[in-house]
Protein backbone atom coordinates (compact mmCIF):
# COMPACT_ATOMS: atom_id res chain seq x y z
CA UNK A 1 0.00 0.00 0.00
CA UNK A 2 1.70 3.16 -1.16
CA UNK A 3 -1.02 5.76 -1.38
CA UNK A 4 -0.39 9.44 -2.05
CA UNK A 5 -0.98 10.09 1.67
CA UNK A 6 1.78 7.71 2.64
CA UNK A 7 4.15 9.23 0.14
CA UNK A 8 3.31 12.71 1.48
CA UNK A 9 3.76 11.46 5.03
CA UNK A 10 7.10 9.91 4.17
CA UNK A 11 8.23 13.28 2.84
CA UNK A 12 6.91 15.21 5.86
CA UNK A 13 7.86 12.83 8.67
CA UNK A 14 11.06 11.37 7.30
CA UNK A 15 9.78 7.85 8.10
CA UNK A 16 10.07 5.44 5.17
CA UNK A 17 6.81 4.45 3.50
CA UNK A 18 7.38 0.72 4.10
CA UNK A 19 7.36 1.37 7.84
CA UNK A 20 4.31 3.59 7.56
CA UNK A 21 2.38 1.05 5.50
CA UNK A 22 3.37 -2.02 7.51
CA UNK A 23 0.46 -4.22 8.53
CA UNK A 24 -0.55 -4.20 12.18
CA UNK A 25 0.87 -6.82 14.52
CA UNK A 26 -1.13 -7.03 17.74
CA UNK A 27 0.85 -9.92 19.20
CA UNK A 28 3.26 -7.67 21.15
CA UNK A 29 0.25 -5.87 22.67
CA UNK A 30 -1.35 -9.21 23.51
CA UNK A 31 1.88 -10.13 25.29
CA UNK A 32 1.63 -6.88 27.28
CA UNK A 33 -1.93 -7.97 28.11
CA UNK A 34 -0.44 -11.26 29.40
CA UNK A 35 -2.45 -13.17 26.80
CA UNK A 36 -5.80 -11.77 27.98
CA UNK A 37 -7.67 -11.41 24.69
CA UNK A 38 -10.62 -9.68 26.39
CA UNK A 39 -8.31 -6.89 27.53
CA UNK A 40 -6.87 -6.57 24.03
CA UNK A 41 -10.41 -6.33 22.61
CA UNK A 42 -11.15 -3.57 25.15
CA UNK A 43 -7.95 -1.72 24.18
CA UNK A 44 -8.78 -1.95 20.48
CA UNK A 45 -12.26 -0.64 21.20
CA UNK A 46 -10.81 2.30 23.17
CA UNK A 47 -8.35 2.92 20.36
CA UNK A 48 -11.17 3.26 17.85
CA UNK A 49 -13.13 5.51 20.23
CA UNK A 50 -10.08 7.75 20.63
CA UNK A 51 -9.53 7.96 16.88
CA UNK A 52 -13.15 8.92 16.25
CA UNK A 53 -13.04 11.39 19.12
CA UNK A 54 -10.00 13.05 17.56
CA UNK A 55 -11.71 13.27 14.17
CA UNK A 56 -14.67 14.95 15.88
CA UNK A 57 -12.41 17.29 17.83
CA UNK A 58 -10.57 18.30 14.65
CA UNK A 59 -13.88 19.11 12.95
CA UNK A 60 -14.73 21.45 15.79
CA UNK A 61 -11.36 23.04 16.59
CA UNK A 62 -9.91 23.54 13.12
CA UNK A 63 -12.69 25.79 11.72
CA UNK A 64 -12.45 27.81 14.96
CA UNK A 65 -8.66 28.07 14.63
CA UNK A 66 -8.45 26.72 18.18
CA UNK A 67 -4.93 25.36 17.74
CA UNK A 68 -4.38 24.85 21.45
CA UNK A 69 -7.41 22.56 21.72
CA UNK A 70 -6.46 20.74 18.52
CA UNK A 71 -2.91 20.27 19.80
CA UNK A 72 -4.24 18.88 23.09
CA UNK A 73 -6.55 16.51 21.23
CA UNK A 74 -3.57 15.33 19.18
CA UNK A 75 -1.48 14.93 22.33
CA UNK A 76 -4.20 12.88 23.98
CA UNK A 77 -4.39 10.34 21.18
CA UNK A 78 -0.65 10.15 20.46
CA UNK A 79 0.36 7.63 23.12
CA UNK A 80 -2.40 5.21 22.15
CA UNK A 81 -1.39 5.33 18.50
CA UNK A 82 2.20 4.61 19.47
CA UNK A 83 1.15 1.88 21.87
CA UNK A 84 -0.79 0.09 19.14
CA UNK A 85 2.14 0.64 16.75
CA UNK A 86 -0.01 2.31 14.10
CA UNK A 87 2.88 4.27 12.65
CA UNK A 88 1.09 6.08 9.84
CA UNK A 89 -1.55 7.64 12.12
CA UNK A 90 1.06 8.34 14.78
CA UNK A 91 3.23 10.16 12.22
CA UNK A 92 0.24 12.30 11.17
CA UNK A 93 -0.61 13.17 14.79
CA UNK A 94 2.98 14.10 15.59
CA UNK A 95 2.93 16.49 12.62
CA UNK A 96 -0.43 17.96 13.69
CA UNK A 97 0.80 18.57 17.23
CA UNK A 98 4.04 20.11 15.93
CA UNK A 99 2.10 22.42 13.63
CA UNK A 100 -0.30 23.43 16.44
CA UNK A 101 2.66 24.25 18.69
CA UNK A 102 4.53 26.01 15.89
CA UNK A 103 3.42 27.73 12.68
CA UNK A 104 -0.33 27.09 13.11
CA UNK A 105 -0.85 27.01 9.35
CA UNK A 106 -4.58 26.27 8.94
CA UNK A 107 -4.26 24.92 5.41
CA UNK A 108 -1.46 22.56 6.37
CA UNK A 109 -3.39 21.43 9.43
CA UNK A 110 -6.47 20.83 7.31
CA UNK A 111 -4.36 18.72 4.97
CA UNK A 112 -2.94 16.70 7.88
CA UNK A 113 -6.37 16.18 9.45
CA UNK A 114 -7.70 15.06 6.05
CA UNK A 115 -4.78 12.60 5.90
CA UNK A 116 -5.83 11.21 9.28
CA UNK A 117 -9.47 10.87 8.23
CA UNK A 118 -8.45 9.15 5.01
CA UNK A 119 -5.88 6.83 6.58
CA UNK A 120 -7.89 5.77 9.63
CA UNK A 121 -10.32 3.37 7.85
CA UNK A 122 -7.33 1.49 6.35
CA UNK A 123 -5.66 1.20 9.74
CA UNK A 124 -8.97 0.18 11.33
CA UNK A 125 -9.34 -2.59 8.77
CA UNK A 126 -5.80 -3.84 9.51
CA UNK A 127 -6.35 -3.74 13.28
CA UNK A 128 -9.70 -5.49 13.09
CA UNK A 129 -8.22 -8.17 10.82
CA UNK A 130 -5.24 -8.64 13.14
CA UNK A 131 -7.59 -8.94 16.12
CA UNK A 132 -9.83 -11.42 14.30
CA UNK A 133 -6.77 -13.51 13.40
CA UNK A 134 -5.61 -13.56 17.03
CA UNK A 135 -9.12 -14.49 18.16
CA UNK A 136 -9.19 -17.42 15.73
CA UNK A 137 -5.69 -18.54 16.69
Amino acid sequence: MKTKILLDLQRLSGIDSDTLSATIDLEPILEECMGEIDLLIELVSLYHENALEFIGAARIHLPNSDFKALGLAAHKIKAGLAMMRTDSLHAIIVLIQKECDGDQDSKHLQFLCDCFVEEYPTVKKYIDTALANLNQG
Binding site: K78, A79, G80
Partner: protein
Protein backbone atom coordinates in the same frame (compact mmCIF):
# COMPACT_ATOMS: atom_id res chain seq x y z
CA UNK B 1 0.84 -9.36 53.06
CA UNK B 2 -1.02 -6.10 52.55
CA UNK B 3 -0.96 -4.79 49.01
CA UNK B 4 0.84 -1.52 48.32
CA UNK B 5 -1.53 1.27 47.33
CA UNK B 6 -0.72 2.93 44.01
CA UNK B 7 -2.44 6.05 42.73
CA UNK B 8 -2.43 6.13 38.93
CA UNK B 9 -3.33 9.55 37.52
CA UNK B 10 -3.84 9.09 33.79
CA UNK B 11 -6.55 10.52 31.54
CA UNK B 12 -5.77 8.32 28.54
CA UNK B 13 -8.19 5.47 29.08
CA UNK B 14 -6.33 3.20 26.66
CA UNK B 15 -3.05 3.47 28.52
CA UNK B 16 -4.78 3.52 31.90
CA UNK B 17 -6.60 0.23 31.19
CA UNK B 18 -3.40 -1.58 30.27
CA UNK B 19 -1.37 -0.13 33.15
CA UNK B 20 -4.09 -0.80 35.73
CA UNK B 21 -4.34 -4.41 34.59
CA UNK B 22 -0.58 -4.98 34.73
CA UNK B 23 -0.10 -3.18 38.04
CA UNK B 24 -2.93 -5.18 39.62
CA UNK B 25 -1.39 -8.38 38.27
CA UNK B 26 1.87 -7.15 39.77
CA UNK B 27 0.26 -7.17 43.19
CA UNK B 28 -0.66 -3.50 43.67
CA UNK B 29 -3.95 -2.04 44.79
CA UNK B 30 -4.52 0.52 42.05
CA UNK B 31 -6.63 3.64 42.39
CA UNK B 32 -7.17 5.16 38.94
CA UNK B 33 -7.92 8.87 38.67
CA UNK B 34 -8.68 10.32 35.26
CA UNK B 35 -8.36 13.97 36.22
CA UNK B 36 -7.01 16.30 38.86
CA UNK B 37 -10.34 16.63 40.68
CA UNK B 38 -10.42 12.89 41.32
CA UNK B 39 -6.75 12.97 42.38
CA UNK B 40 -7.42 15.67 44.97
CA UNK B 41 -10.53 13.89 46.27
CA UNK B 42 -8.58 10.65 46.68
CA UNK B 43 -5.59 12.30 48.36
CA UNK B 44 -7.88 14.14 50.79
CA UNK B 45 -8.79 10.79 52.35
CA UNK B 46 -5.98 8.38 51.46
CA UNK B 47 -2.21 8.27 51.42
CA UNK B 48 -0.97 5.98 48.67
CA UNK B 49 2.39 4.21 48.90
CA UNK B 50 3.35 5.55 45.47
CA UNK B 51 1.93 7.86 42.79
CA UNK B 52 2.26 7.41 39.03
CA UNK B 53 1.02 10.45 37.13
CA UNK B 54 0.84 11.69 33.57
CA UNK B 55 2.24 15.21 33.18
CA UNK B 56 -0.61 16.46 30.98
CA UNK B 57 -3.99 15.96 32.60
CA UNK B 58 -7.21 17.92 32.52
CA UNK B 59 -7.85 20.48 35.31
CA UNK B 60 -4.75 19.63 37.34
CA UNK B 61 -1.47 18.82 35.62
CA UNK B 62 1.13 16.38 36.83
CA UNK B 63 3.25 19.38 37.85
CA UNK B 64 0.45 20.75 40.00
CA UNK B 65 -0.01 17.29 41.47
CA UNK B 66 3.66 17.12 42.53
CA UNK B 67 3.51 20.61 44.04
CA UNK B 68 0.25 19.73 45.83
CA UNK B 69 1.68 16.52 47.30
CA UNK B 70 5.02 17.98 48.32
CA UNK B 71 4.06 21.51 49.42
CA UNK B 72 0.45 21.31 50.61
CA UNK B 73 0.17 17.73 51.84
CA UNK B 74 3.87 17.59 52.72
CA UNK B 75 4.03 13.92 51.74
CA UNK B 76 7.26 12.22 50.73
CA UNK B 77 5.47 9.45 48.85
CA UNK B 78 7.44 8.51 45.70
CA UNK B 79 6.11 10.07 42.49
CA UNK B 80 6.82 8.68 39.02
CA UNK B 81 5.93 10.96 36.15
CA UNK B 82 4.74 9.76 32.74
CA UNK B 83 5.94 12.10 30.04
CA UNK B 84 5.79 12.30 26.26
CA UNK B 85 9.05 12.06 24.39
CA UNK B 86 10.46 15.50 23.66
CA UNK B 87 9.13 16.91 26.92
CA UNK B 88 12.53 17.13 28.60
CA UNK B 89 11.92 20.58 30.03
CA UNK B 90 8.79 19.38 31.80
CA UNK B 91 10.69 16.40 33.17
CA UNK B 92 13.39 18.66 34.60
CA UNK B 93 10.72 20.88 36.17
CA UNK B 94 9.05 17.79 37.61
CA UNK B 95 12.29 16.70 39.25
CA UNK B 96 12.76 20.20 40.67
CA UNK B 97 9.28 20.06 42.16
CA UNK B 98 10.03 16.71 43.79
CA UNK B 99 9.31 13.88 41.34
CA UNK B 100 11.41 10.80 41.97
CA UNK B 101 11.49 9.25 38.51
CA UNK B 102 9.97 9.50 35.06
CA UNK B 103 9.02 7.16 32.26
CA UNK B 104 8.47 8.14 28.62
CA UNK B 105 5.45 7.34 26.49
CA UNK B 106 4.72 4.91 24.98
CA UNK B 107 4.94 3.35 28.43
CA UNK B 108 6.14 -0.22 28.69
CA UNK B 109 4.10 -1.76 31.53
CA UNK B 110 6.99 -4.10 32.38
CA UNK B 111 9.37 -1.17 32.70
CA UNK B 112 6.89 0.73 34.86
CA UNK B 113 6.56 -2.27 37.20
CA UNK B 114 10.34 -2.35 37.63
CA UNK B 115 10.49 1.38 38.33
CA UNK B 116 7.61 1.24 40.81
CA UNK B 117 9.25 -1.64 42.69
CA UNK B 118 12.58 0.19 42.70
CA UNK B 119 11.06 3.35 44.18
CA UNK B 120 9.19 1.38 46.84
CA UNK B 121 12.32 -0.55 47.75
CA UNK B 122 14.18 2.73 48.33
CA UNK B 123 11.69 3.55 51.07
Amino acid sequence: MEKKKLLLAEDDQLLASLLTFRLQKGGYEVQLSANGKQVKEYLAEHTPDIIVSDIMMPYFSGMELIAFVRKELKLQVPIIIISSAGNEENVLNAFELGANDFISKPVSPSELLVRVARELNKN
